[in-house]
């Protein structure tokens, strides 16, 4: 968000452009794509209270974190896509 705001300020585009609906949505979407994996790593494991259900024999805490290790690049690619528009 901060990065976005700075970029806006230093660009030659008029300030009003930031209120353009599409850009606000894009900025929100990017923030979401960053925040969701962070919360998935940091908060969700706190509420894992069982060794079930298992995936490929792995306990939830293991497959959950692994799943997000794999998903993180996809989320960051999403951010990258929205940024380059």
């Amino acid at each position: 968000m901060l990065q976005r705001a700075n970029q806006q300020r230093s660009s030659s585009r008029p300030r009003g452009a930031y209120r353009d609906g599409g850009m606000v949505v894009a900025a929100l979407a990017r923030t979401g794509l960053i925040v969701v994996p962070i919360l998935a790593f940091v908060l969700v494991p706190l509420w894992i209270t069982s060794t079930e259900p298992r995936i490929l024999g792995m306990p939830p805490i293991m497959w959950w974190i692994l799943l997000w290790v794999v998903l993180t690049p996809l989320f960051l690619l999403g951010v990258e896509r929205l940024r380059s528009r």
Partner: protein, 475 residues
């Protein structure tokens, strides 16, 4: 191992004695070199020994090791490209250069250098110890600890002395290939040999240690609060050391840095087989404590498998200690040369003189680590914690410095003093912090000082552009 060093030397045989070449590889690293150089931070002797030890003897808190790397890259994606831009616009060479340039004080750069040199000397000591354990096991008891550390010390110093950053990156490719291969082999061979499959092995572990797969109570030691704060601390602090910052500077472009941060999380996948190895060892050879547990799976291999397998794994492990300590050593030595000798005493400021002074400092810093190892053996484990906790205190100076114009020299300096002071105090005199990670507590106090002082101090718009954070010109 010798082959790798030879390979690195061949790769760099024509590198000039230009310091930017020696320290930053000429700022020309494409995605692959940068990937292995940064990924090297994930694959260290700690991966080989420490992570297996955590899986062996700890509960669910061990899973922070699986998650924090990916978390670190998300955070890195947000600020490393900006750091690269700031550095390349000003032709910065070291991490302390960033502090000098951003906060307009070479004295502060020199202080940051002193603090990080101390921390990095301890970090190199950690690697020396790891190498010693591996060499002792690989030698089947024929090498004693002091000999092993001396061998490790000579190998590291010689390697950094001759290779420079580019040589290290090339060597890192070999090291990573060897490591990925051996880690995957061990992680799957061990459970298959003893239990038929990794999932059957996991089922055994879960039956034996059902409580080791869910986190403890909120404020318990190593409980939920610890997991949360440790994830955040290690995620934030992952890239705030002289070695990783220099690796960032070495990238060819901002885009390279960004793409790296996107795909580096996948590197973390290789930690999974190490968990498997540690868990298998805990079933096959239970009851070991502390550092013994770290090497438990190597002992299992030693007694149940051909010596060649152990040899390959120990070779990969030794390289995994050699390369990260080499990058750290180079970055630390170049900081001492540039930010203390050059900026404070005005000697060896450019060209071949700077490269040679850096080489002299490499030997000096490595010698300090060796001396620390000889004298501090007993309290090693405590000091190791200080390495990470201490380096992370630089994060406000780097990250806030890039994004918030209001932060200036004094708030950051005060925050760093408070943060590192607390980190050291919590290390020397551990006090219960309701399960909080002590380094995180120190970082929180650091941040509190920085933000409070920044908001209360009168803010004059900086006159020169040199003191403001780099900003992009195109949205």
């Amino acid at each position: 191992m010798l082959g790798t060093i030879a390979f690195a030397l061949i790769a760099v045989h024509k590198v000039a004695s230009d310091p930017a070449q020696f320290i930053l590889g000429g700022r020309s690293f494409g995605p692959i070199l940068l990937w292995v150089l940064m990924g090297g931070e994930v694959y260290t002797t700690f991966t080989f020994l420490g992570i297996a030890g955590w899986a062996y003897g700890r509960g669910a808190e061990a899973y922070y090791l699986l998650g924090y790397g990916a978390l670190a890259y998300i955070i890195a994606y947000l600020y490393l490209p900006r750091l690269w831009r700031f550095a390349s616009e000003r032709q910065l060479l070291t991490m302390a250069d960033f502090f000098s340039a951003r906060y307009g004080s070479t004295a502060f750069g020199a202080i940051v250098t002193l603090v990080t040199t101390f921390i990095e000397a301890l970090a190199i000591l950690v690697y020396l110890t790891g190498l010693q354990i591996l060499l002792a096991i690989a030698g089947f008891g024929s090498i004693n600890a002091t000999q092993a550390v001396l061998i490790a010390f000579v190998a590291i110093t010689f390697f950094v002395f001759t290779a420079g950053l580019r040589g290290m990156a090339w060597a890192a490719i070999v090291k990573d290939a060897l490591m990925i291969g051996s880690v995957a082999a061990v992680g799957f061979v061990l459970p298959i040999a003893f239990f038929g499959s990794p999932s059957a092995m996991l089922a055994h572990v879960m039956a034996m240690r059902p409580h080791d797969f869910t986190l403890g109570a909120w404020t318990a030691s190593n409980g939920k609060l610890w997991f949360l704060t440790t994830m955040l601390l290690t995620g934030i602090g992952f890239f705030t050391g002289p070695g990783t910052v220099a690796a960032t500077y070495a990238a060819k472009s901002e885009d390279t840095v960004r793409r790296n941060a996107i795909f580096l999380p996948l590197y973390v996948l290789m930690i999974v087989p190490i968990f498997f190895a540690g868990y298998t060892a805990s079933l096959v050879l239970p009851g070991l404590r502390g550092a013994q547990g770290d090497a438990a799976y190597l002992r299992v291999i030693q007694s149940h498998f051909p010596a060649a397998l152990l040899g390959i794994i120990c070779a990969a492990g030794v390289l995994s200690g050699l390369l990260p300590s080499a990058t750290r050593l180079l970055a630390t030595a170049s900081q001492v040369t540039k930010n203390i000798l050059g900026d404070v005493f005005h000697v060896a400021r450019a060209g071949a003189a700077q490269t040679w002074a850096t080489r002299a400092c490499i030997v000096l810093v490595a010698a300090v680590s060796l001396l620390l190892w000889l004298f501090l053996k007993a309290s090693l484990v405590d000091l190791l914690l200080f390495v990470y906790n201490g380096n992370t205190q630089l994060a406000p100076g780097i990250i806030l410095g890039l994004f918030w114009k209001r932060v200036t020299l004094w708030p950051i300096a005060a925050g760093l003093a408070v943060g590192d002071g607390c980190a050291l105090a919590f290390t020397v005199h551990p006090i219960p912090l309701a399960g909080l990670n002590p380094g995180f507590a120190a970082l929180a106090l650091n941040l509190l000082v920085v933000v409070t002082l920044s908001l209360t101090m009168p803010f004059a718009r900086p006159a020169s552009k040199a003191a403001t954070p780099a900003r992009s010109t195109v949205a």
